[in-house]
């Protein structure tokens, strides 16, 4: 792709992604004040973040993969059940995955 074509794609892509972000902020206030809408918005966020955890921990491209990320996530879940602070949870997960990979797991 020529530098000009790449620049056009960069600008167009950024504009599209920004427009998508902005649309979410332009929903009228009185509409969001409805309990059913507010509750649905809250559930949508829960669904998106939960799906994101699953995709980040158990997929590569279009493949379902079980590698060092899964035991690391399990360690994080146990730490959360034990009410460990946020940073401890994150560091434990990173440490677990790093250790397992150093030991040869993918």
């Amino acid at each position: 792709m020529s530098p000009t074509a790449t620049w056009l794609a960069v600008i167009a892509g950024s504009a599209v992604v920004f427009a998508l972000k902005l649309v979410g902020h332009l929903v009228p206030d009185h509409w969001l004040a409805k309990p059913r809408v507010a509750r649905t918005a809250a559930l949508v966020t829960v669904a998106l973040l939960s799906a994101l955890v699953a995709v980040q921990a158990a997929t590569i491209g279009r493949h379902l993969v079980a590698d060092a990320r899964l035991p690391a996530l399990a360690v994080a879940a146990v730490a959360l059940m034990l009410r460990a602070p946020f940073i401890v949870v994150v560091v434990l997960a990173a440490g677990t995955a790093a250790l397992l990979r150093a030991l040869g797991m993918s």
């Binding site: 790449t6 794609a9 600008i11 892509g13 902005l22 669904a47 939960s50 980040q56 493949h63």
Partner: protein, 228 residues
């Protein structure tokens, strides 16, 4: 908000910003390898500012794909940011020039930290600190990656990919005390994983939101406070 509560929010924001920001090295290095200039790479991190969209965009360009395909793929991965808006807008009450600024900073991380807080003031603080923090770190490390290449090696070696998943799990965790939310989360995970082999990147997570929309609109109000 007590000073302790405030410090806890800031600590969370900074942790997320550092963990996410470090991935910018990978993005910067891969973007240059895909054929973009350092300036174009920086333009993506500054203007597009959405990790998933950016990686997908350079993936298409690097594979020799058309400009239109790169733009469409970036949009597909960025679409979920639009679904975060209705959740964070009432929290922020941003008007005038702050509205587009808040929109640009509406990403997985800022939304997750904002919604993990128990009161609106803490949520607001979490959104801005995480949004600005990730923006600064992400751009700084993108530049580093673009200039130096993958000097630090694969972030997976340090378990950074697992750290990202664990951070989102920790942020969504407080919400799972609610029975209906737990049900929606479980169904969302199942939908996303089931669709992964059959749909383009970005679609599985996006369609998981449909579960929440259906449940949110059909269940009566009272049921949300009852355990499932």
């Amino acid at each position: 908000m007590t000073p302790d509560a405030r410090r806890a929010v800031l600590r969370q924001s900074v942790s997320v910003a550092v963990a996410t920001g470090l991935y910018g090295i990978s993005f910067g290095a891969l973007s240059v390898v895909a054929g973009l200039s350092t300036t174009q790479t920086m333009a993506l991190s500054l203007l597009m500012f959405s990790g998933g969209s950016q990686f997908a965009f350079i993936g298409v360009i690097g594979a020799g794909g058309a400009a239109g395909a790169a733009v469409a793929t970036a949009g597909l991965l960025g679409a979920r940011n639009g679904l975060y808006g209705p959740q964070v807008t009432p929290l922020l009450a941003a008007h005038g020039w702050r509205k587009p600024l808040a929109a640009q900073l509406t990403i997985d991380e800022s939304t997750a930290v904002a919604t993990a807080q128990s009161d609106p003031a803490a949520g607001r603080l979490g959104f801005w600190w995480t949004g600005v923090g990730v923006f600064v770190m992400w751009n700084l490390f993108t530049l580093l990656g673009a200039v130096l290449g993958d000097a630090l090696g694969d972030p997976r070696t340090y378990g950074l990919d697992a750290a990202a998943a664990a951070a989102f799990l920790a942020l969504v965790w407080p919400r799972l005390a609610d029975g209906v939310a737990r049900l929606v989360a479980g169904a969302a995970v199942a939908v996303a994983l089931a669709l992964t082999p059959f749909t383009p990147a970005g679609v599985p997570v996006l369609l998981a939101a449909v579960v929440a929309i259906v449940v949110g609109l059909v269940t009566p109000q009272e049921e949300t406070s009852e355990p499932a």
